[in-house]
């Protein structure tokens, strides 16, 4: 099951890259993806049946829209801080507690945090994410956990768990 999924995804990427549907191209792509699967399929996602549930894709699209909005906000935030003559920055590294379980979800959350306004993820030890924040607005752990991770956590929980 896992192998079939990995094969379909790899072949799809091959066809998108080369962009023609002739027979010899298909054969070369199939052979290349078979060789790739032999070596790397054991690193593919474990519970494959989760990829077949349609509601996950719905939440994914919703998450994508929110994420792009946050990205644009992040850029204007950084532009404001950079162009302001006095540079209003107050940096520091804060500790954020996560409620997610699987490794995949944690990775995606850390990547999303890097692109959101003023935060960049430094390290992930077990359940705790260390985040470098360009403007530490409050010193209360509850409040900034909610501010940094709370926006994405509920969507990622629905998509990847």
């Amino acid at each position: 099951m896992k192998y079939i999924f990995a094969f379909i995804i790899l072949l799809g990427f091959w066809l998108l890259f080369t962009f023609n549907l002739e027979t010899h191209n298909l054969i070369v792509g199939a052979v290349a993806s078979l060789i790739a699967i032999l070596f790397f399929a054991k690193h593919f996602v474990k519970p494959v049946w989760k990829m077949l549930q349609p509601q996950r894709y719905f939440w994914f699209i919703l998450y994508l829209i929110i994420f792009i909005w946050e990205c644009i906000k992040a850029n204007f935030d950084v532009a404001y801080r950079v162009l302001h003559p006095a540079m209003p920055i107050k940096p520091g590294i804060v500790k954020v507690k996560l409620n997610l379980k699987t490794n995949m979800a944690k990775t995606i959350l850390a990547n999303s945090i890097t692109m959101t306004p003023g935060t960049i993820s430094v390290d992930l030890i077990d359940d705790v994410l260390y985040v470098h924040w360009i403007y530490v607005s409050s010193t209360d752990p509850e409040e900034y956990s909610k501010k940094v991770a709370g926006r994405f956590e509920k969507y990622i929980k629905k998509i990847f768990e």
Binding site: F17, G92, T114, M115, V122, I125, T139
Partner: protein
């Protein structure tokens, strides 16, 4: 019509790249520089690639630009994470303006664990 959108997206991309590079010059220490540069330059380049999709439609170049966007996104974020963690272990202190450092108490333990592997 699509040409106007193409020019607008392209100029937004170059403008964001400019902001990111100004941040690279002005901000005081490594961590802040990495913040401004990674965010602005990644979204600026994504915007340039998006303008290519608008210009060419859904043909060979457009599809390749579409694939390059998530690739660039993951590459940039993971590289930023690796660089910031590496420079912390290298021993660069947070800048003078910083007010909080929660990572200090666990950094030594993390480094020991890393070297044992």
């Amino acid at each position: 019509m699509s040409k106007i959108i193409f020019i607008i997206l392209l100029s937004i991309g170059v403008l964001f790249n400019l902001f990111g590079c100004i941040g690279l010059l002005r901000l005081p220490d490594v961590y802040n520089r990495l913040q401004s540069a990674t965010k602005c330059v990644t979204l600026g380049t994504c915007s340039i690639l998006l303008s290519l999709i608008v210009y060419y439609g859904f043909n060979e170049i457009g599809v390749k630009a579409l694939i390059a966007i998530p690739l660039l996104f993951f590459a940039a974020t993971v590289a930023a994470h690796a660089l910031i963690r590496g420079s912390y272990f290298f021993g660069i202190k947070l800048g003078e303006k910083s007010i909080k450092d929660d990572y200090k108490e666990v950094a030594g333990a993390a480094e020991n664990k890393e070297s044992k592997k």
